[in-house]
């Protein structure tokens, strides 16, 4: 089992917790991932947009991480917005770090991915895709956490529980944005693991 350190810039702690759980799930066979505490934290989307490249460079140069993640809610269900954002982040990362970075852009927000997982738990036999990503962000938060505004202390166990039993294969199938993250991550992981 290989140990890998990762850096992260995200909007909030729900992103952080989701990613932590997702990495342990997705790379369970090959790699233990540990987040490096860079103490760099954005508090909104614009701070992520303005500072992701710098945070990425700091993570690689100062903290010697193996891989870097940037997580930012798209806040829209529009494919064009997703593509524009992806292009902005991808283009903004400097060459030496780009191939070791993963851009995570949930459509519309990370709670929609969690909502899918909750839906699978509640409807285990249903195979049909319900396009939850067209629903509002507040709907997703209310559905996942019970309230629109909740503290991370309350969010964490909910995220952990949903991720513990997550059917990420199914989520990849239903959510294009998660599929993109999944594919990019596996590709970066593959490139980092010894042949």
């Amino acid at each position: 089992m290989r140990e890998m350190k990762y850096g992260l810039l995200c909007e909030d702690d729900a992103h952080r917790e989701f990613l932590r759980m997702a990495l342990s799930f997705l790379a369970a066979d090959s790699t233990n991932f540990e987040e490096v505490k860079t103490h760099i934290q954005a508090k909104n989307k614009r701070e992520v947009d303005r500072n992701f490249a710098k945070a990425c460079s700091v993570a690689f140069v100062r903290y010697k991480v193996d891989v870097f993640f940037v997580v930012r809610d798209v806040d829209s269900v529009n494919d064009v917005n997703f593509s524009e954002l992806y292009t902005m982040f991808h283009g903004g990362l400097t060459e030496p770090h780009r191939h070791r970075s993963v851009i995570v852009l949930p459509v519309q927000c990370i709670e929609h991915w969690l909502w899918y997982l909750k839906h699978y738990n509640e409807n285990p036999t249903m195979m049909k895709n319900i396009p939850l990503e067209t629903r509002t962000r507040n709907d997703a938060k209310k559905e996942v956490y019970g309230h629109i505004k909740t503290s991370i202390a309350k969010q964490k166990p909910i995220i952990q529980e949903l991720m513990r039993t997550a059917d990420l294969k199914k989520l990849s199938h239903h959510s294009a944005s998660f599929r993109k993250f999944h594919g990019d991550f596996m590709s970066v992981l593959q490139s980092l693991l010894p042949a």
Binding site: K37, H39, N51, K54, A55, S57, T94
Partner: protein, 456 residues
């Protein structure tokens, strides 16, 4: 102007060195990192120089607890201050002074303070021209440690500090102190400094004359009557006696008396405060006072035979809003203006969170006032903040910003330019990366954690 300041063993300050102080300086860091302790240490030093020696009970909690962190005895570590100052009208010479308060337990395990050891004055950083030492009763390991600690290269080394009393035929245990804890001097003290013998004749009279030369007066004058200003708007709601007060209290609770005095005796200052208030809070045109005929009994007893008044502001329609109906931000801002414009502000102004209650868009103008004050009145300012807008106002002078953090229960201080930005960009250069222009958005880069000084 104080250019360097070293504080040891005061509260969380095991050893901090602010070594590039500017006319206006900013301390930033998470809550409980030790920013306020730096200001408190300065105030403590000021009170000490003013002759207020705390008793054992007051002093004991002020010591950094080495025992807890390094398994040393608490009593073996002095509270110490060392500072360098740039004198007016002098280019090169820099004065410095240091004071240490020792703390120990006697054979009965009773906690005792030992009165201060002090190095009072010297000129130059590499070669001392004058040195006076007082109260060297404790010429023991503590002294050597203390001196060695302070005289690390490139500063002058004291090579031989032993046997001062013995050389004079004086039993160190016989050196005594008067009832005010001032040392009673006698004999001649000398030490060798970089091979050069420095000596000073001392009298047998008790004395407390820290200020012997013009330079010393200038240097120690910086520390006179220091206050840590933390205006509390709630204090302005209280009635206060009308009496002559030319300076603002730390909590600004005496604004009624202060503003009355300014109106009666310092018309220019009063008008400046009024004009600045109107510039920042345009809806108010003038400052009012109202004498209360029947104040509460407890206040009558507290302020016997005094007229008590409250403060208010008048809007453009002539309506008066008394303190209890004004916003906290307005009251706080009025306090800040009074602190800044008081006729004889301290030479070193210590200010906690000047942004409190002020709209972010007004913060730059407020800070401009503080920068102007420093330049026009030759006042040095050290302030703390949690505001990114205040931090942004230091974008042109990152060397005036200190990052305060608590590591392993000790406060550490880094100079933003020298200890954070420059090493960062050197590391990036070595890695073939572009340097980062942190000062383009200094507040944001700080709050996001690029520069340190953020909560875990």
């Amino acid at each position: 102007m104080i250019t360097e300041l070293k504080i040891t063993n005061f509260r969380s300050l095991r050893e901090v060195w602010l070594d590039n102080l500017q006319p206006v300086n900013l301390l930033i860091g998470p809550n409980n990192s030790g920013k306020s302790n730096i200001l408190k240490a300065l105030k403590f030093f000021s009170e000490f120089l003013g002759g207020n020696m705390p008793d054992e009970e007051q002093l004991s909690p002020l010591f950094f607890n080495l025992k807890q962190h390094e398994n040393h005895h608490l009593e073996s570590s002095p509270i110490g201050f060392l500072f360098f100052a740039q004198l007016q009208n002098e280019t090169l010479p820099i004065g410095f002074g240091a004071i240490a308060l020792f703390h120990h337990r006697n054979s009965n395990n009773e906690l005792k303070n030992i009165p201060p050891f002090s190095i009072i004055y010297a000129k130059g950083k590499t070669e001392l021209e004058q040195l006076s030492i007082s109260n060297i009763k404790q010429l023991d390991d503590n002294f050597d440690d203390f001196v060695a600690n302070y005289y690390n290269s490139p500063y002058p080394k004291i090579i031989d500090s032993n046997n001062v009393f013995e050389d004079q035929g004086i039993d160190p245990d016989q050196v005594s102190f008067d009832q005010h804890r001032n040392p009673i001097y006698f004999g001649e003290q000398y030490i060798k400094l970089n091979g050069r013998r420095i000596s000073r004749s001392i009298s047998s009279e008790p004395k407390n004359d820290y200020f012997q030369t013009e330079g010393q007066i200038q240097i120690f004058g910086q520390f006179q009557d220091l206050k840590i200003y933390r205006p509390e708007s709630s204090k302005l709601l209280e009635l206060y006696p009308i009496q002559n007060e030319r300076s603002v209290q730390e909590d600004a609770g005496n604004l009624v008396a202060f503003l009355q005095t300014m109106r009666n005796e310092y018309e220019g200052i009063y008008n400046t405060i009024k004009d600045d208030l109107q510039r920042f809070v345009p809806e108010f045109k003038s400052i009012n006072f109202k004498i209360i005929d029947n104040p509460p009994k407890e206040l009558q007893e507290k302020y016997i035979n005094k007229s008590l008044a409250k403060i208010g502001l008048t809007d453009k329609f002539g309506r008066i809003f008394w303190a209890d109906s004004l916003s906290e931000g307005t009251l706080y801002f009025l306090s800040l203006l009074c602190i800044i414009h008081q006729p004889e502000p301290p030479k070193l102004l210590l200010l906690e969170e000047p942004e409190k209650g002020i709209h972010p868009r007004r913060i730059r103008e407020t800070m401009d006032l503080i920068f102007e004050l420093a330049a026009e009145k030759n006042i040095q300012v050290i302030l703390t903040t949690h505001s990114t807008a205040v931090v942004d106002t230091f974008a042109d002078i990152p060397e005036a910003v200190y990052i305060v953090e608590r590591v392993a229960q000790q406060t550490t201080v880094k100079n933003l330019q020298r200890d954070v930005i420059e090493p960062h960009n050197e590391q990036f250069k070595a890695a073939g990366e572009e340097p980062m222009r942190f000062t383009d958005a200094l507040g944001e880069h700080w709050a996001m954690g690029f520069l340190g000084g953020v909560p875990e």
